[in-house]
Amino acid sequence: MIQRALFPASAALALAGAAHAANDLTHPEVAQIMAIEADSDYGAYLASECTACHAPNPEGGIPQIHMLPESYIVGALVDYRIGEREHQVMEQIAKRLGEEEIAALAKYFSEAE
């Protein structure tokens, strides 16, 4: 497997902006979700919605989410959900994810190759 940098390139960009939740474990919502015990079966099921766009080896304008740090995925999804990070598709998708779902997905993708 190719060694990844600790932060994905897009994370650096996101963090350069306003107070993003991404990778910020002190953000109360991120911390709360990180404390939930993730349901791995549920995570695998929910992830099937994501793999329509996020392939393990992505191409074009779709970023890699497989093998990202769990807290980064939680932070990104929270940012989309609260509109802190704008993107029509990801906001629509994140809006209907509850904390349970975000926890399960983040765990799944952080471990999925």
Binding site: A52, G60, V89, Q92
Partner: protein, 420 residues
């Protein structure tokens, strides 16, 4: 009860198993048969095989060795993709997922015996059957056109050779000639598809035949992403594209392939290429199986099961499910819900609430992509939209280029999700 050869054989197997240790009985893994290896069927087969890890026996029946996606076929017409990049084979599904890929046509379903009859004469038993055969064209939908005329007036609405033919015809048009499209009535596969096609034809003609004209005759008053397309056509192809809607005869159209004419409400136009996209209905096998109400097969949103047979599921274009458009993305999304429900019914795996989503991208011109999408949930009555989004008119070039790049990534991901 049917005493055919198969159930006798099954009976022998069962009784010998009963004499042996109980674990031997577990060898008779439940059987899922999937008809149609497209967006819905290939996804369902792959997910059931993958998630059951061998506990379910999956057979996929698909006549073609290579599936050419309709999605991105307009980009081939526009010169942005090679035909080979749209072709996908079933090798990984057979070799890596253990799916029994049978290249044959399903010609009938015996719902009492729970078998699928193949054109070769074989009969395949199932515990659960999944049908995702896509569409067929309605006979007589465009007077003057039938399947024997499709080499003169191609539909290019099923992937592969028809698309290649249409592109060749466009490139061979005389200077200043006319490309006509007879657009379909609702509902049909890929609501923005005809209009993305017009955009890509316009792009191709702008490069090789800039004085050519495009004429759309359309039975619909409005169409998908209309404001976005019309803005883009004005901006990129000003004056090349004319559309005749129902107010001006767009719903009273016949064609004459021998003369290469289109009759629009009594007015006869001579054209050089004529792309006829007829009205559509569910693929024939769904009708043969007695699962349709009119043109399409009604399903329960929670698990995509047929409203007339709980052991048969119908995916994708063929299903009457409610609010989702007939798209490859939607078929793929429905397939995953169905796979989860089928596995739950046949094994002890967990079943989660249905959730669906869809996004349809369209390319209007180089680096000018737009999208429309939504999330959906299962209600008692149907698959119901729970909110969506659409690109805006007047967006900046960077956003449009980004949207196009997303669609390129989506194509790679969804085809990997279907074929492994």
């Amino acid at each position: 009860m049917h005493f055919n050869r198969r159930s006798v054989l099954g009976g022998i197997a069962a009784s010998s198993a009963a004499l042996a240790a109980p674990t031997v009985m577990a060898q008779g893994a439940p059987r899922v048969v999937v008809v149609g290896g497209g967006a819905g069927g290939a996804t369902a087969a792959r997910y059931i095989a993958k998630d059951s890890a061998g506990a379910v026996n999956v057979t996929l029946i698909e006549p073609t060795r290579t599936y050419y996606t309709c999605f991105f076929s307009n980009l081939y017409i526009g010169g942005f993709r090679e035909m080979e990049s749209l072709g996908h084979d079933y090798g990984a599904l057979a070799a890596e997922y253990g799916i029994n890929v049978v290249h044959d046509w399903a010609v009938g379903v015996d719902r009492d015996a729970k078998t699928v009859e193949l054109a070769s004469g074989a009969s395949v038993p199932y515990d659960r059957l999944i049908l995702s055969p896509g569409i067929d064209f309605k006979d007589g939908a465009v007077p003057g056109w039938d399947v024997t005329a499709q080499n003169v007036m191609p539909h290019a609405y099923k992937g592969g050779s028809q698309t290649e033919l249409l592109k060749a015809q466009i490139l061979a048009m005389p200077e200043g000639g006319t490309f006509a499209m007879v657009a379909p009535p609702n509902p049909y596969r890929c609501p923005p598809g005809p209009y993305e096609r017009v955009s890509m034809v316009a792009h191709a003609l702008t490069e090789v035949n800039p004085t050519a004209k495009i004429l759309i005759v359309d039975p619909k008053a409005n169409f998908s992403k209309q404001a976005l397309f019309e803005e883009g056509w004005q901006r990129h192809y000003g004056g090349m594209i004319e559309r005749i809607g129902p107010d001006f005869g767009g719903e009273n159209v016949s064609v004459n392939p021998a003369e290469m004419t289109v009759d629009i409400d009594g007015q006869v136009e001579s054209v050089d290429v004529c792309n006829v996209i007829p009205a559509q209905r569910a693929g024939r096998i769904v009708h043969e199986a007695g699962l349709t109400d009119g043109d399409w097969a009604p399903v329960n949103a929670a698990d995509m099961s047929s409203k007339s047979d709980p052991e048969i599921h119908i995916l994708g274009d063929a299903a009457a499910q409610g609010d989702m458009p007939k798209s490859g993305y939607a078929a793929n999304s429905q397939a995953k819900v169905c796979a989860n429900a089928v596995l739950g019914a046949l094994t002890d795996s967990r079943v989660f609430p249905a959730r669906f989503s869809n996004t349809c991208w369209s390319l209007i011109a180089p680096e000018d992509g737009v999208k429309v999408g939504a999330s959906y949930e299962a209600t008692e009555e149907k698959i119901a939209s729970s909110g969506g989004f659409i690109s805006e008119t007047g967006e900046d070039d960077a956003t449009r280029a980004q949207t196009y790049q997303e669609s390129v990534g989506w194509y790679a991901a969804i085809t990997a999700d279907m074929f492994g």
